[in-house]
């Protein structure tokens, strides 16, 4: 505490294998940092839980709502009437996330059939592709994507496959 008494040995080195100790004051900035973090911790905790009433579940809902406001979901009628090119653009990302495991990033197939050749097992029209994606082909391991993706995303990914795979 007393600045004038810097570097005064405590005289205990005989009890510490010859190691001497000073009893210098705690650096003011260090003490200030300690007090500041404690104050911050209390303020943050009280604010988060009791003032702002935040929770991770609430924050998530808010984030999703903000995203929905920024990128509003088009209604089905608009989707149906939409430009296939725009749909396909959006469908690409869905395909890359969900489909490449079986159909490959180049749509050349693998576990699932090739989507770029002329052969369409279940039909190659946009409507037929949409149906296959929606209902799946359970006996072949093709998942029923309708409930997972929803009609809008199915329309998008179908448009992408139809365009990129050369559907009829």
């Amino acid at each position: 505490m007393s600045r004038e008494k810097q570097d005064v040995p405590m005289g205990h080195s005989d009890e510490a294998d010859g190691i001497e100790e000073y009893d210098n004051a705690l650096p003011a900035w260090w003490l200030g940092l300690f007090y500041f973090t404690i104050a911050w911790a209390v303020v943050y905790g009280v604010h988060y839980h009791f003032v702002a009433g935040r929770s991770q579940a609430g924050d998530y809902v808010a984030e999703v709502q903000a995203a929905e406001a920024r990128w509003p979901a088009p209604d089905p009628a608009t989707v149906a009437a939409a430009d296939p090119k725009v749909l396909a653009e959006a469908g690409k990302a869905i395909y890359m996330t969900n489909c490449i495991g079986c159909h490959g990033p180049e749509l050349k197939g693998g576990i699932g059939p090739n989507l770029t050749d002329a052969e369409w097992i279940h039909g190659g029209s946009l409507a037929e592709i949409t149906t296959v994606i929606t209902n799946g082909v359970p006996e072949k391991g093709m998942l029923t994507w309708g409930p997972i993706l929803g009609p809008e995303k199915v329309a998008q990914v179908a448009a992408f496959i139809h365009a990129a795979g050369g559907g009829q």
Binding site: K5, V8, P9, M10, G11, H12, D14, E15, D23, Q56, A57, G58, D59, Y60, V61, A62, E63, V64, Q65, A67, T97, N98, I100, G101, C102, G104, P105, G110, I111, E139, K140, G141, M142, L143
Partner: protein, 257 residues
């Protein structure tokens, strides 16, 4: 023990309280240290055993089937948790990629928990039902056949090694201590293993995988992976709808004022 320097003019003060009591009395020092290190753990961990402060249970979550439990043991053995998390965080970027974020109540029967701490590969908590069985078969045989560019090692031995029914029953017996299984379920394990195994083998056969039998390790692992994150989906959906309604009402009430 004398301290000659203590009496010298240089010396700042006689022995402090800390020195006189604690450092002199090592047992007291040890006891106080034990108290100091115990407080935080007690305050944080003990409330988790209470209903109100602990994880919210989800009624639809049930224990793993014998085959899934065998698969889970393989997942533990191979250290899948070193690269794959099983915890989708409540961020839009995560739920877009993986699906619904993970709730505490979904892990009720996870002994040990397998949340993971590093995603060298993607999160697996919503893997169940995402891909067909044959995808997992091909992926474990050669990860790059299903995920081009993947850095995951192949696990060909899972296609050859077999699970041991008695071993699975030993696991179930240990887990029955915590109420995961009844004795009847343990006794019925051989039949349950065969039944669920044959279902998966049947689906693999349809996809032209011929050389796999119901007791191959890959079958158990597929059973486990297909179960991941599938319990309690409806409960979560209801919960989400409820939260959204509440938020919507709050917003409506706020704008009305």
């Amino acid at each position: 023990m004398s301290h000659p320097d203590n009496n010298s003019p240089q010396s700042p003060a006689p022995d402090s309280w800390h020195r006189r009591t604690l450092e002199h009395k090592s047992a007291l020092f040890a006891v106080l240290t034990t108290v100091a290190i115990s407080v935080g753990g007690l305050v944080e961990i003990v409330p988790l055993f209470t209903v109100s402060a602990g994880p919210q249970a989800i009624a639809e979550v049930t224990p793993y089937t014998p085959l899934e439990q065998a698969g889970r043991d393989i997942y533990s053995r191979e250290g899948c948790v070193q690269c794959h998390s099983q915890m989708v965080r409540p961020f839009r970027a995560e739920t877009l990629r993986y699906g619904e974020w993970s709730r505490a109540g979904e892990y009720t029967f996870d002994r040990p928990f397998l949340l993971g701490s590093r995603r060298i590969g993607p999160d697996l908590h919503r893997l169940g039902g995402k891909y067909p069985d044959v995808w997992h078969y091909e992926h474990m045989k050669d990860p790059r056949s299903t995920s081009p560019g993947s850095i995951m090692p192949a696990y060909p031995w899972l296609l050859e090694d077999r699970i041991d029914t008695a071993d699975v029953q030993a696991s179930m017996t240990a887990l029955s201590t915590f109420g995961h299984y009844t004795q009847a379920e343990i006794d019925a394990a051989p039949a349950a293993l065969a039944k669920q195994g044959e279902e998966i083998v049947g689906r693999l056969r349809q996809s032209k995988v011929e050389n796999i039998e119901a007791d191959h390790e890959i079958v158990a692992l597929i059973a486990y992976l297909q179960r991941l994150g599938t319990d309690g989906k409806k409960a979560i959906k209801d919960q989400v709808a409820q939260t959204e309604r509440a938020q919507g009402e709050a917003v409506a009430a706020g704008s009305a004022q």
